[in-house]
Amino acid sequence: MASITLKGVSKVYDNEKKVVEKMDLHIQDGSFTVLVGPSGCGKSTTLRMIAGFEKPTEGEIWIGNQLVNDLVPGKRDISMVFQNYALYPTMTVRGNIEFSLENIKIPKRKRKEMVEEIVEVVGLTEYLEKRPQHLSGGQRQRVALARAMVKKPEVFILDEPLSNLDAKLRGQMRTELIQLHKRLGTTFIYVTHDQVEAMSMADEIVILNKGKIMQQAAPMVLYNNPKNTFVAEFIGTPAMNVLPFEEIRADLNIENNPEITHFGFRPEHGRLVHSEDPQIFTLRYPSKIITRETLGSETIYLIENKLGRQHIKSTEPPFSEDADLALCIPVEKIYYFDRLGIRVEKENEAFPYTLQNHEKGGVKI
């Protein structure tokens, strides 16, 4: 087990495009850390630098208390699961799992024991003598996991391991990976572009954009306390509604804070009511539905009002599309952002935002 530290790491390719820029990152020993961000954000490059496939242009990478900048991948005590599995196609499942053990000259009997123990864990015992191309996607994924696990590495790296699987299998593998992490207790670094994967599996999420860390925190902290509009809009489905502040400035009873240019609220915090219903929240805007997605347990609306267009998620029975509605926004659930998209928090004492306030909702008494 080992922690990983990046100190001022940058990666610049020949075309002088900065893929990763002065990144400082600490990944805790034994944590399940997910690097997430849109494509091209530098998450895979970061991962490949940790694994040793790419050399950082500047900065230091530490695994445990060893500086690994000049260490070849094989000496970093890392296992990796690749997006397309990268199984050796000419070897059987056993051959694939055994390969790294043969390389370090572990005796045959011991090898056999280790392989059999690990395939038991991933449930592949009956496929030991098959070749990868005769296995399904999910089984190949398990072989890749077994191959990575058998080495008992300090750090486990997973590069979008679930993106080639179908939705149902992905859900299943997510649970299995969480259990696996619990059992092994090894440091997991997991790269994905899917925020749902990040939210559901991570102890800690690192959100990247354009080679920079936007925020690093536990899933629920990211959700409740986004540091900027990028994080606010990246986490949660649908994304947080971020709108110009001008429209509601007058409706809010606060002293003029010129810093604030945008505000946001989560789709599940806004509430749609019939326009004849009594006023329950401070902020209320007549709205009409543009589209409606009924998902069974919940309904997602795209609505329009004087603030612009917003997504609203509701667990109440769906409204008809032509209903005469009003959007109510609880003031406590509003986030404020400045011109650069940075969250305006403590400066604005009029609206202290704490986690404990959640349960109270926005009911005006």
Binding site: P73, F82, M91, N103
Partner: protein
């Protein structure tokens, strides 16, 4: 029940009514389309093969109107002829030697040249260039280089302090010399195909191997070569098929000599047919060549159909 399910379909599907004329036209059209290719194929491939098989059972001198049927006599004579056996031996030695050397050298070259950088591209281009030169020019060039007295090779050999080598004039060296020419000519092309094969191996296999602490030679034997085996096999068969048909270099550089030491199957067929006008004999040897080539091709297709398509 099934009727109910199908009830939405119309009861009487209108059947296309076609006239006799249009049927025959539709029937003929594809044949008319492929006729040019078919005629060329029949005229220049199938007919000569058939005619050769026919001639192999006859004796004919190219001129007389009479072709005497002799049954298997031509084949019996061939098998009994020590010269023909030597020809077969020469062909096999030449074929296996040149294929083995070409494959080995170009594989080594491709492993070395499969890198980025202008120097590697340049060497790759340089090695490839013999491939685009006509074989006749290549033969003339090498004849000069291998000249025992004035040749470039012997100049080097002498400079290095050895005795002159009678490249093309000694039965011990002549066949080897021809193998050298063949290897020189085809190594670049093979290298190119090998490099293409190497580049189609997924990079992350090597990344996985590097995380698995794989020593270099094991990467080569356990990953690169197995992944390259389809290419290796393809080139081996193509090489065998090409080398067994060697003719130009022999015709120009040695004429089958000295003392028949470079007489190979195709040259033997040519000599019997168009120098000695023993068409029956030549055709029988041609049939034997055809059988060898057919076997090689069948092996190729057999293994090709079994070839595993990885991932």
């Amino acid at each position: 029940m099934s009727q109910d399910l199908l009830s939405h379909l119309p009861d009487n599907q209108p059947v296309a009514v076609t006239t006799r004329r249009s049927v025959s036209r539709d029937f003929l059209r594809p044949y008319i389309m492929i006729a040019p290719a078919l005629i060329v194929f029949l005229l220049f491939f199938l007919f000569p093969i058939g005619y050769m098989i026919y001639l192999s059972f006859h004796e004919w001198n190219f001129i007389s109107p009479e072709k005497t049927y002799v049954g298997l006599k031509n084949f019996k004579r061939l098998v009994a002829d020590p010269l023909f056996l030597e020809v077969i031996r020469n062909s096999l030695v030449y074929t296996f030697l040149s294929v083995f050397l070409t494959i080995t050298i170009s594989l080594a070259l491709s492993l070395w040249l499969n890198k980025k950088g202008w120097i590697y591209s340049f060497i790759q281009g340089a090695v490839f260039s013999p491939h685009i030169i006509s074989l006749v020019s290549v033969s003339m060039l090498w004849m000069w280089m291998m000249d025992a007295d004035y040749g470039l090779l012997n100049w080097f050999v002498e400079k290095l302090g050895f005795e002159k080598v009678p490249w093309l004039t000694d039965p011990k060296f002549a066949l080897i010399s021809l193998v050298i020419v063949s290897v020189w000519k085809s190594v670049g092309y093979y290298t190119l195909i090998f490099i293409a094969g190497l580049q189609s191996i997924p990079k992350n296999l090597y990344e996985a191997a590097s995380l698995d602490k794989t020593p270099k030679w094991r990467v080569l034997t356990k990953i690169t070569l197995p992944m390259l085996s389809p290419t290796l096999f393809f080139l081996t068969i193509i090489g065998l098929i090409n080398s067994i048909q060697v003719f130009e270099t022999i015709n120009i550089m040695t004429g089958g000599g000295p003392v028949n030491s470079t007489k190979t199957l195709v040259y033997y067929i040519y000599e019997n047919g168009f120098v000695f006008f023993k068409l029956g004999n030549a055709s029988a040897a041609g049939v034997i060549l055809l059988i060898i080539l057919t076997i090689l091709t069948l092996i190729y297709f057999k293994v090709l159909s079994k070839k595993v398509h990885y991932q």
